[in-house]
């Protein structure tokens, strides 16, 4: 049976758990091979995918990967200033998601849980690695970049240099806020702080980033 779904909910959507349980019951015998071959993977809810992962169905990792690969990659790339390291870390996170699927609680926003894992892996990586030179990507690899590509490359390098000087918590706050994939509550949960505390951190981060960026710019 192929279930037609509507628009996938955002993490902050207030759809009750009972509705998801009903959907889960209806989709009990859905062949996830169809998901791989043609269905829109965004339609598969994160919590439903996690439920299937917890049951041991590794194919359910695909829709999670498709939905969150770019936000994760962008977050890691900006934090580490290296695309290669960002890809390595993103794959580690997806493996952690698979192995921790049984511990995920659908009451919590999936994005907060995911980026909580991502931040933990990032902290582990930062403790492990020595200081590395920046490895900015080519401007063509950045979304919404137009105009003078040389100028864009220069700005990207300055932006990465400024980000590297921020404290890790402020850097994470400003990166996740700018990405737009998580709401304030989810970002605060990922940081392990209250929403009020997060607002303070974000405010300071924005000021610090602006000052550092202007200092780095010639």
């Amino acid at each position: 049976m192929v279930l037609t779904r509507g628009t996938a909910p955002s993490p902050a959507c207030a759809i009750p758990a009972q509705v998801w349980s009903w959907l889960a019951a209806l989709t009990e015998h859905v062949d996830l091979g169809a998901v791989d071959s043609g269905l829109d993977t965004r339609d598969l809810a994160d919590s439903e995918a996690m439920r299937r992962l917890a049951a041991g169905d590794s194919r359910a990792l695909r829709p999670i990967f498709d939905r969150w690969k770019l936000p994760l990659l962008s977050y890691f790339y900006r934090a580490l200033a290296s695309r290669a390291d960002a890809e390595d870390l993103a794959l580690v996170v997806f493996e952690r998601v698979y192995r921790s699927a049984s511990r995920y609680r659908p009451e919590a926003p999936f994005a907060a849980w995911l980026f909580g894992i991502a931040r933990g892996e990032l902290l582990h990586e930062l403790r492990r690695r020595r200081r590395k030179p920046l490895e900015p990507v080519a401007p063509a690899e950045l979304a919404e970049v137009g105009g003078d590509l040389n100028h864009a490359a220069e700005i990207e390098e300055h932006l990465l240099a400024a980000l590297q000087q921020l404290p890790e918590r402020q850097r994470t706050a400003v990166l996740l806020a700018a990405a737009g994939d998580l709401d304030h509550a989810a970002i605060a949960a990922a940081l392990g702080v209250s929403v009020n505390n997060y607002n303070v951190i974000l405010h300071r981060a924005r000021q610090a980033l602006r000052d550092l960026f202007n200092k780095v710019r010639p």
Binding site: G56, S58, R59, L61, R62, F65, K69, L70, P71, L73, S74, Y77, R78, R83, E87, A90, L91, F94, E95, R96, Y98, R99, H124, V137, A140, E141, L142, A143, E144, V145, G146, G147, D148, H151, A152, I155, E156, L159, A162, V174, L175, A177, A178, A179, G180, R206, L209, R210, F213, N214, R217
Partner: protein, 135 residues
């Protein structure tokens, strides 16, 4: 977000620059994910507690570290207990020896063995006939 031209005198907003992110993934990255998913699918679904503990690289390090720490603590505790028990054994042996000495000493006092002073006094107080002499 289009970046301003180089001659623009408007300062760039770093936070606005962050909103873009990466445009897409590379085929190599997608292939690595597919390989990861296949590897995860080939793993047995039922994992023992030990397998779950050492499943990840980091878990392996933590498990090995905890085992080594536990072994060291266990060895230290065993050495401490052994030395304390040896002390206790030696103390008991010493106490038993003292008890034996005291018992021997008591038996000496209870027996017919007299000190020199006691023997001399006894001899002086005995009748002359007992001395075996007289005129």
């Amino acid at each position: 977000m289009n970046l301003p031209h180089a001659d623009s005198d408007k300062p760039e907003d770093p936070e606005a620059l962050l909103a873009g992110g990466l445009r897409g993934t590379t085929p190599a990255f997608e292939a690595r994910f597919d390989a990861l998913r296949r590897r995860l699918a080939s793993e047995p679904t039922h994992r023992t507690l030990l397998e779950r503990l050492v499943g990840t690289v980091r878990g392996h390090r933590v498990f090995a570290g905890a085992t080594l720490a536990g072994a060291l603590v266990g060895c230290a505790a065993a050495v401490l207990l052994w030395s304390r028990s040896r002390e206790a054994i030696m103390l008991r042996e010493e106490q038993r020896w003292y008890a034996d000495v005291l018992a021997w000493d008591d038996s000496l006092r209870d027996g017919a063995v007299l000190t020199d002073a006691e023997a001399r006094e006894t001899l002086f107080n005995m009748p002359l006939e007992a001395h075996g002499g007289g005129s």
